[in-house]
Amino acid sequence: MTTEHFAPETLHVWAISLRAGEEARRRGDRRTSTEHVVLALMEDPSIEAVLGVSLQQARQALAALDNEALGSLGMSGIDVPSLPMRTVPKRPKLRDIAKKDRLRMTPAAKKVLVESVKPNHQKLQVTTPQVLAQILTLQPPDPAAVLLGALGVKTLEVRRRLDAVTPDSTLPGSE
């Protein structure tokens, strides 16, 4: 994968949140966590390119982590299929946000999105690299950091790639 044609997409922050919520629902989680935000970002092919892994690989890595954890309890070989995902609008309307069955976010996931939009003039618009840059500041045992570790993603390398493709941005951690 290359990052030559990197064109970060500007998204409504709720679009990322709702997408992450569907990833959480698919896995059977009751809250949207930072790992689901990573999966939601990987919907953008440029983020897959920067990380060097695909969405499918990330989902499989999470399933493998779950199997490993269940194996530590002596429960191996349990195969329950993931739940189907519902479609999420790219530009969510108020009725999408106000749905009663929307999953709540963990404090860490909420903080990632809040910190990502802070430098922006429009407080509800954010680019995927801005959110990814916030994700990269997390440390284990945060679920997103554990996922990136399991995928073999080198934080410094990704950071360097992000800086290279968005040199004038206000990404956190940039020198």
Binding site: G28, D29, S72, L73, D79, V80, P140, P141
Partner: protein, 99 residues
């Protein structure tokens, strides 16, 4: 070795669409002492991840069985009663048409 009754039953009556026959017997035969020993792992990160994985597993099992119950003609009231929630809560959480 004597095979436990539940394990013998499990061989013939696996849960619909959820658990493979081989896994069912593993679950049923699990020794509770062995399970307790495994739970007291010395790695808290792994233990907490296991707890969350169990939550996820339970959620998926619940969702699959509610869908099956609805296919069999259960009302939302019956589903709610079985889950210990109101029919509105059961409907809000599991209604596929809300997508």
């Amino acid at each position: 070795m004597r095979v436990p009754v539940l394990a013998r039953l499990a061989r013939h009556r696996c849960q619909f669409r959820l658990t493979q026959r081989g896994c069912q017997s593993k679950l049923t035969r699990m020794n509770i002492e062995e399970f307790s020993a495994n739970v007291s792992s010395d790695d808290p990160a792994l233990g907490i991840r296991a707890a969350l994985a169990l939550h996820r597993l339970a959620e998926r099992v619940e969702t699959s069985h509610v869908a099956f119950a609805r296919e069999k003609g259960w009302s939302w009231q019956q589903v709610g009663d079985a889950l210990g929630v109101t029919r509105q809560s059961a409907h809000t959480k599991h209604n596929k048409e809300s997508s």
